[in-house]
């Protein structure tokens, strides 16, 4: 049961189309099985699909599942049938999971009757459009050779109406390098889509893509997409573009966002109008029958489908791609491209993508464009690092504001923030809250998904309280614990509409609970521990966003345990001062402001994207503390610098070697027992770094590498 689950179903509800696009993979490609299939999915097949999927969802305990209504052209089934399909899927799946229902359409027929159905069942609509009129009309013509452009744009205008806007999923654009990329992108952005997806035209090694002229660019698709990337950047990335977001995410160490790029296991099933299971639809371009599995919903379930060798082959990450791809420097971002694009009659799918040169060019082009090469002052100065980290949080907050603007409760909070920021003394209180390490995880989450409004409101309240500003903020508080970051937790009598009146004397909490009663609150402040040397450390055992360590955090501690923990922490610092008198000096001192107790056995850990935070297990040993903290200092600095500038081109080997070298240099310098081995490994990593192309390290990264070489040269010769 540990295999990746099937979480996306492409359900073909109509097998014909009212357009005759010459680049279509269904009708124009090798696989012609559509001819023998029922035109419309039958009630019986639909019931069976819904039943099989809900059984699978229950067995695998899936929290969500996406069903994409597809075709052919799915709107050809008509609004009444469409309603029955949506109703049946909703009836079967909504009681057992979160159903994310979507439709991909050419938009030609989309009208208010369809949209009323989509509104009723919350069906998100993705529309295919290849750009401006000229671009679209190059391929997307109807059977009589007429343009589809005006009809599609009219459909999009409908989707943009306030009553349907929430159903507008985005635009899907198939790339044709004969079109002007900027004109295409501008035409799409003018339609204000929530997201855009650029798709490479379906091709294989046996049927290579158009646009490769003798004497022309070796990477026409990369060139084309990178011009759009530049345009998108220049616009301030107005909307997500999945192709680019996926490359950016993987370059920064995150997951891929599309099956067309990266190594994420396939979680997709396709069911045709006759109930047969197929693998990815795009395989139709490969050869007749390529997507077939021999399974159907009447005889087989999703679990059996998931076991199919063809499906398994696309779930095996690095092991499932060609040898060339496995050794490729951009494999994490590219992953060998879309499965179908790897096909050749000679070697099956054991090839790089037919777009290999373009994909490599695209990934490298994006990486180069986002690299900051200049030496960052934070590399040599801890104050600059603190300042750059604070600036980063303020920029993230500004982005969260842009996303939340227009919601009255947030607008009031933002006005207070701006007021606090305009005066030197209140700004210092604001910045105290903004430098709290666990704000960052909250801001990241707010930008990555639905905004965590209650958390952000609580942050503004905390800043207001510290500054003693006069203001009242209110919002819907979903749980009883209202945590004011860096200060403490208000335990409310119930969740509900909370009202925080901030005055110079403190905070008055009121409001109405969801139980109808008046809200009351108890206050549990955060404690801090005074150290013999240096600023006090905040002991944060309550922030809901403190859970950013690779091991579990401890639950809030009872007062006596917390006091004991603080005492042991102070003693451990004293032991460290004793044993390593110089540890507070130098560039690698850990800039810790906040300590969070971790569950027993967790050791000492740095949090992810939580500048200034250190996790310490409740049962830590002083010896371990003395040994680990200085080492963590190096890692802390490297990570913190990597958040404010680039040390190497993202995704490059130099970045990984720099991390490795730093870890071994730390051990070589600190380790009394095994310094020789650490030293050897440190030198090895630094030598490997020296052999990378010079352009992989930025000036900041080169500065760090030189610093390490000097360190090794001094004590160890």
């Amino acid at each position: 049961m540990s295999d990746p689950a099937i979480q996306q179903l492409v359900l073909k509800i109509h097998s014909r189309c009212d357009l005759a696009c010459d680049h279509c993979y269904v009708y124009e490609a090798a696989d012609q099985t559509w001819r023998s299939r029922p035109t419309v999915i039958s009630e019986e097949t639909l019931d069976q699909v819904a039943r099989r999927l809900s059984e699978y969802v229950v067995a695998r305990k899936l929290e969500s599942v996406t069903v994409i209504l597809h075709g052919g052209e799915p709107l050809l089934v008509g609004p009444a049938r469409l309603r029955r399909i949506c109703a049946e899927l909703t009836r079967a799946l909504c009681p057992v999971t979160a159903l994310d229902l979507r439709i991909h359409t050419n938009g030609v027929r989309l009208n208010r009757d369809h949209l009323r159905v989509f509104d009723e069942f919350d069906v998100k609509v993705g529309i295919s459009l290849d750009g401006d009129r000229a671009a679209n009309d190059r391929h997307r013509l109807d059977r009589r050779g007429r343009s589809s452009y005006d009809r599609v744009v009219r459909a999009i205008e409908l989707l943009r109406l306030p009553e349907y806007r929430h159903l507008y999923q985005g635009l899907l654009c198939t790339v044709d390098v004969a079109n002007d990329p900027v004109a295409v992108h501008d035409a799409l952005t003018a339609l204000d889509p929530p997201r855009i997806d650029y798709l490479l035209p379906h091709s294989t090694w046996d049927a290579p893509p158009p646009g490769r002229e003798p004497g022309g660019s070796a990477t026409p698709y990369a060139d084309w997409l990178l011009r759009i990337f530049d345009r998108w950047e220049e616009q301030g990335r107005l909307m997500p573009v999945r192709t680019f977001d996926s490359v950016l995410s993987t370059l920064r160490g995150g997951p891929s966002l599309t099956e067309a790029l990266g190594l994420a296991p396939s979680d997709l099933a396709v069911i045709e109008t006759d109930g047969t299971f197929e693998q990815a639809d795009s395989l139709k371009t490969a050869y007749e029958g390529a997507p077939a599995t021999g399974y159907d919903v009447f005889r087989h379930g999703f679990a059996e489908f998931a076991e199919h060798p063809g499906v398994r082959a696309r779930q095996s990450g690095l092991a499932g791609i060609s040898e060339t791809c496995r050794r490729c420097p951009v494999v994490q971002s590219c992953g060998g491209g879309l499965y179908a694009h790897r096909y050749s009659a000679e070697r099956g799918f054991d090839n790089p993508s037919v777009f290999c040169a373009d994909l490599k060019g695209l990934v490298e082009g994006v990486a180069e464009r986002i690299t900051e090469r200049a030496l960052h002052p934070a590399v040599a100065d801890a104050d600059e690092l603190r300042l750059a980290q604070l600036e980063l949080d303020r920029s993230l907050l500004a982005r969260a504001n842009a996303a939340l603007a227009g919601r009255p409760e947030w607008d009031a909070a933002w006005r207070l923030l701006v007021r606090l920021d305009s005066d030197e003394s209140s700004a210092s209180h604001l910045n105290t809250v903004l430098t709290h390490p666990y704000l960052r995880p909250a801001l990241r989450r707010s930008l990555d998904g639905p905004a965590d409004l209650p958390r952000l409101m609580a942050t503004v309240t905390a800043a207001g309280v510290l500054a003693g500003a006069e203001a009242t903020l209110s919002w819907d508080q979903p749980g009883r614990d209202l945590h004011l970051p860096a200060l403490g937790t208000l335990r409310l009598s119930a969740p509900g509409r909370v009202e925080c009146a901030i005055t110079a004397d403190g905070l008055r909490v009121g409001g109405t609970g969801s139980d109808g009663g008046e809200l009351t609150a108890e206050w549990r402040p955060l404690e801090s521990v005074e150290l013999t040397d240096g600023p006090p450390l905040l002991l944060d055992d309550a922030d809901p966003h403190r859970d950013c360590y690779p091991v579990p955090v401890a639950a809030p501690l009872p007062p006596s345990d917390l006091a004991l923990f603080g005492k042991r922490l102070r003693a451990a610092h004293e032991a460290l001062d004793d044993r390593r008198p110089g540890w507070r000096e130098g560039v690698n001192v850990p800039l810790i402001t906040t300590v969070t107790p971790l569950a027993p056995g967790g050791g000492l850990r740095l949090g992810s994207h939580a500048f200034g935070a250190l996790g310490v297990a409740v049962d830590f040993e002083p010896e371990e503390f003395v040994r680990e903290l200085p080492l963590l200092g190096r890692e802390f600095r490297l990570r913190a610098l990597g958040e404010v500038t680039d040390l190497a081109v993202p995704g490059s080997a130099a970045g990984r070697l720099l991390d490795e070298a730093s870890a071994w240099v730390g051990r070589a310098v600190a380790d009394e027992d095994d310094a020789v081995e650490s030293l050897r490994r440190a030198r090895h990593a630094l030598d490997a770094l020296a052999h990378r192309p010079g352009s992989e390290l930025t000036e900041s990264g080169a500065h760090l590498a030189d610093e390490m070489r000097e360190e090794l040269a001094v004590p160890h010769g």
């Binding site: 996306q8 189309c17 996406t66 597809h70 052209e73 991909h104 050419n106 295919s128 899907l172 798709l199 950047e233 301030g236 990335r237 977001d245 995410s249 920064r252 160490g253 891929s256 966002l257 067309a260 979680d267 795009s282 986002i370 104050d383 603190r386 300042l387 604070l390 600036e391 303020r394 920029s395 500004a398 982005r399 504001n401 701006v418 920021d421 305009s422 700004a427 210092s428 209180h429 604001l430 910045n431 105290t432 960052r440 989450r445 930008l447 990555d448 309280v465 510290l466 860096a486 200060l487 004397d505 403190g506 008055r508 609150a521 206050w523 402040p525 600023p535 905040l538 404010v644 680039d646």
Partner: protein
């Protein structure tokens, strides 16, 4: 109910930073520079929210 919350000592950065920082209201959230700098920590998506989405035009 009225809670009086004792102010913790602000961090050194917080106190000294004000003059060096661009006013919050003037940070252009969508400017390429802002996106570029915040991108280092936001571009890598959370694994839970990310899904290698189906990609096919129609």
């Amino acid at each position: 109910m009225n809670l009086s919350i004792k102010a913790t000592r602000g961090s050194d950065t917080a106190r000294s930073a004000h003059k060096k920082l661009a006013p919050l209201a003037a940070v252009a959230a969508d400017a390429p520079r802002t996106r570029r700098s915040t991108g280092r920590v936001t571009d890598a998506r959370g694994s839970q929210l990310a899904r290698a989405g189906f990609t096919s035009s129609i």
